[in-house]
């Protein structure tokens, strides 16, 4: 009758009864002395300690092949000796159902990819066509207000809409020259916002927003007309509406995958940008192509689109590499080349006419937000924009930048 070194609680896994057992550590096994009958031998190699237990002073042991029996010991000395003697306390059972996990993982990835890159965009395309105009306008108006508020910056006042009457008339005249009428699903609404941003975009429902900054940067009305033609291309393609619908579908799915782990929203936004970008690049190229056609039809130079982007590239840099994938605009070099090609075609067909606006109209447009900030630039009578070197552009832009800094 060998003495027991310590006592512990034993649960045999067949009933909830707790039994007090004596323990003895042998060379190859832990011996459990049950109150009745034959002692149990638990081989040291098969001992497993349950992980992440709250009480460091206790050890909960189980046996490798027996999933339910448990031994709970609190004798510090014995615990230390078992830790030293048992070789595989921390071994976990092999991962069950590895094949199944791999299969479902593949299925999940395929499902998500299919939905985000195929199903949702296709449905968004189709539904964008069916959305009644009033509905689109409502969507566009809601977004417009959000943007105005977001751009309010330091003040909480939303950005102003520029409404000088002569400027508005000039803008309408430019749109009329472009004459996209038949292609448009609904009438255009042109708005100029009083902000430094050099940008323009289209919203669902036919609203095109141009920023004052873009008007300031343009060398002549042909460049603004080119941008306007590009945005009209977006309206005709119903790109903004498709984007909004597609976003509604994708965001939900992405939220699903990344879950609510700490800061998941950041990853969500990044992932959405990535998806957004690849989808939009196609739309941008499409809008470019439409713009080239529209400009040519109106007798305006498609190259204006190219030169404008060229100046912006010199000023703001091209999006190369990773940034190109993230930015929704195709690399500017590609766009500039496309514009020049269209120009060459128009040239050879002899289709160029007078500039988009005459001097007075152009001045009115530039003053739509208030008096223009710097001297107007003279441009030659023919439609070609003046040739320039990057240095000229940088000088000119350098001055205007300090003038504009508030």
């Amino acid at each position: 009758m060998s003495a027991f070194e310590a006592f512990a609680d034993f649960f045999d896994g067949a009933s909830a009864n707790r039994r007090r057992v004596g323990l003895r550590l042998d060379v190859e096994a832990l011996v459990l002395g049950l109150p009745e009958g034959v002692p149990l031998r638990w081989p040291l190699a098969d001992l497993r300690a349950r992980p992440d237990q709250a009480d460091p002073g206790r050890m909960v042991l189980s046996l490798a092949e027996d999933p339910v029996a448990r031994l709970v010991l609190s004798d510090a000395d014995l615990i230390a000796r078992i830790r030293a003697a048992a070789p595989a306390l921390k071994r976990r059972p092999p991962v069950a159902h590895k094949g199944r996990i791999a299969g479902w993982a593949l299925g999940a990835v395929a499902s998500v990819v299919l939905i985000i890159f195929v199903l949702v965009p296709t449905m968004a395309d189709q539904l964008a066509r069916w959305l009644p105009p009033e509905g689109e306008r409502a969507l566009g108006d809601a977004t417009f207000e959000q943007i105005r508020n977001a751009l309010g910056r330091e003040s909480f006042v939303p950005v102003d809409v520029c409404e000088a009457p002569e400027g508005l008339v000039a803008l309408e005249a430019m749109a009329a020259r472009l004459n996209a009428g038949d292609d448009l699903p609904y009438p255009l609404r042109l708005t100029v916002l009083d902000d430094d941003l050099v940008n323009a975009f289209a919203l669902p429902g036919g609203r095109i927003v141009i920023f004052r900054g873009l008007l300031d940067e343009a060398l002549g009305p042909n460049e603004v007309a080119a941008v306007l033609a590009h945005e009209i291309g977006h309206v005709v393609g119903r790109d903004p509406t498709r984007d909004a619908l597609r976003l509604a579908g994708s965001v939900g799915v992405l939220g699903l995958i990344f879950g609510d782990f700490a800061g998941g929203t950041v990853v969500l936004v990044l992932a959405n940008e990535l998806i957004n970008a690849s989808y939009s690049q196609k739309a941008e190229t499409g809008a470019d192509d439409y713009a080239h056609e529209l400009l040519t039809e109106a007798g305006l130079p498609p190259a204006a689109l190219g030169t404008f982007f060229e100046r912006l590239r010199d000023e703001y840099g091209d999006a190369e590499g990773i940034e190109a994938h993230l930015s929704s605009h195709p690399q500017m070099t590609a766009r500039i080349e496309a514009a020049l090609q269209a120009q060459a075609a128009a040239d050879s067909a002899g289709r160029l006419g007078p500039p988009a606006l005459d001097d007075d109209q152009w001045q009115a447009l530039r003053s739509i937000c208030g008096p223009a900030e710097h001297q107007p630039v003279e441009f030659p009578e023919d439609a070609m924009p003046p040739s320039h070197s990057p240095d000229d552009a940088r000088d000119r832009l350098g001055t205007s930048k300090t003038e504009k800094s508030k």
């Binding site: 009933s15 460091p56 339910v68 939900g252 699903l256």
Partner: protein, 397 residues
């Protein structure tokens, strides 16, 4: 011989904080993938901390089970969420010219899935919980739960929350009556009206807030708002009281064969934990942010000092001679740090103390009946709690 088993609690703040912080960090570094391991490890800790009669509870779920369940849910839900959200947005703008209906309908459409996920998650949790080696379990019955939950929520909302105790009791009874320990089935005795007493302070407080606000508006004397403010404080205490009292009444109404519970939680302690915990977390946060800002200020100051100011600059990044992306990186790092810290502190100052309090005040009576409880079969349940993992079901363990 009537035996009673008291419960002791073995959880400690320090080790829990370290575990929570470490696992949260891994989760962030793996873009959320590690969260199945994090949840599992935290559950193991929380379960083993509770020791009825000195024997710890045990959580035997594995991270890969959760992962598999999650992947299953993604396949189904991705389709549902992607397509349905899109269609709802379309109809919302077509018919109502606004996006509010879309969000409302989306919510309504997700509610059944939400309840489904809740029940299945509880089934998984119980199926992977053991005490004294014996498994718990929850019978299948999700359909009944989903429609009951839906109807009860509707009724509760329509009665502006007055019938909240009724919903609480009904759903708790449905779950408890299907819960097993080994081969013994639990039973929830009592009636829902028994919970009204637990809600009384909430009712009174809300009435006071409403009356105070109404009087202030009608008489145009702001002094009545003081009454509303007092009502607000009372409401906070009343919610703690509800939490404690409802737990007591529901637990003492549970039977397992001839066994039962005695439970004496203290509302004051509950309130103190929430209040003290929130203050502690805010305090620590403020201190950490202060340290970080001071450190950042020192570093930037050193950089500014070495730059030629006459050269002119366009933005702070240029001045410090650093690329803009570095600033974004620091910003993102601070953002994640805040989340990590907040999560870990919440475990330490709120979740664990609450769990400890409820554990320590609960006693099992009639424990001699435990000898007769036999083991039950393992519930394979491959889908685990995948849907609950996929949907944002809020915090908790």
């Amino acid at each position: 011989m009537v035996r009673e088993l008291t419960t002791d609690y073995a959880g400690r703040r320090g080790p829990l904080f370290r575990l929570a912080l470490k696992t949260s960090l891994f989760t962030v570094l793996t873009l959320g993938f590690y969260r199945f391991w994090m949840k599992t490890r935290l559950r193991r800790y929380y379960w083993s901390a509770i020791r009825p009669g000195g024997s710890p509870l045990e959580y035997v779920g594995t991270p890969t089970e959760k992962l598999l369940g999650f992947l299953t849910a993604v396949v189904v839900l991705a389709f549902y969420i992607g397509v349905v959200n899109l269609v709802l947005m379309f109809f919302s703008f077509s018919l109502f010219e606004g996006n509010a209906p879309a969000y409302a309908l989306s919510f309504l459409g997700l509610a059944p899935i939400y309840f489904f996920a809740q029940y299945r998650a509880r089934r998984y949790l119980l199926a992977r919980t053991r005490w004294r080696g014996i498994r718990f379990g929850l019978e299948p019955g999700v359909k009944g739960y989903v429609w009951r939950a839906f109807v009860h929520w509707l009724v509760t909302i329509l009665t502006l929350g007055i019938l909240w105790p009724r919903m609480t009791f009904a759903l708790e009874k449905y779950r408890t009556d299907r819960t097993f320990y080994g081969d013994h089935r639990f039973e929830q005795t009592g009636r829902w009206t028994g919970l009204l007493g637990a809600m009384k302070h909430v009712y009174l407080a809300v009435a006071l807030i409403a009356a105070g606000t109404l009087a202030a508006v009608l008489s145009e004397e702001p002094v009545w708002l003081v009454a509303a403010a007092m009502g607000g404080v009372w409401l906070a205490l009343g919610l703690a009281y509800w939490k404690a009292e409802s737990f007591r009444r529901l637990t003492e109404g549970k039977r397992l064969g001839a066994m039962g519970f005695r439970c004496r939680p203290r509302p004051g302690t509950i309130f103190g934990i929430y209040l003290g915990g929130s203050l502690a977390i805010s305090g620590i946060f403020a201190a950490v942010l202060l340290i970080v800002m001071v450190a950042l200020g020192l570093v930037l100051g050193a950089m500014f000092a070495s730059v030629d100011l006459d050269a002119g600059f366009d933005s702070p990044e240029d001045l410090a001679g650093l690329p803009a992306w570095l600033f974004s990186l620091v910003g993102i790092a601070v953002y994640f740090l805040i989340f990590l810290l907040w999560g870990a502190l919440r475990h330490v100052f709120i979740t664990m103390p609450i769990a400890r309090h409820f554990a320590e005040v609960t006693t099992i009576i009639g424990a001699e009946g435990l000898v007769g409880v036999k083991q039950r079969e393992r519930d394979e349940f491959a889908e685990a709690e995948g849907f609950a993992d996929a949907l944002p079901l809020g915090g908790g363990i």
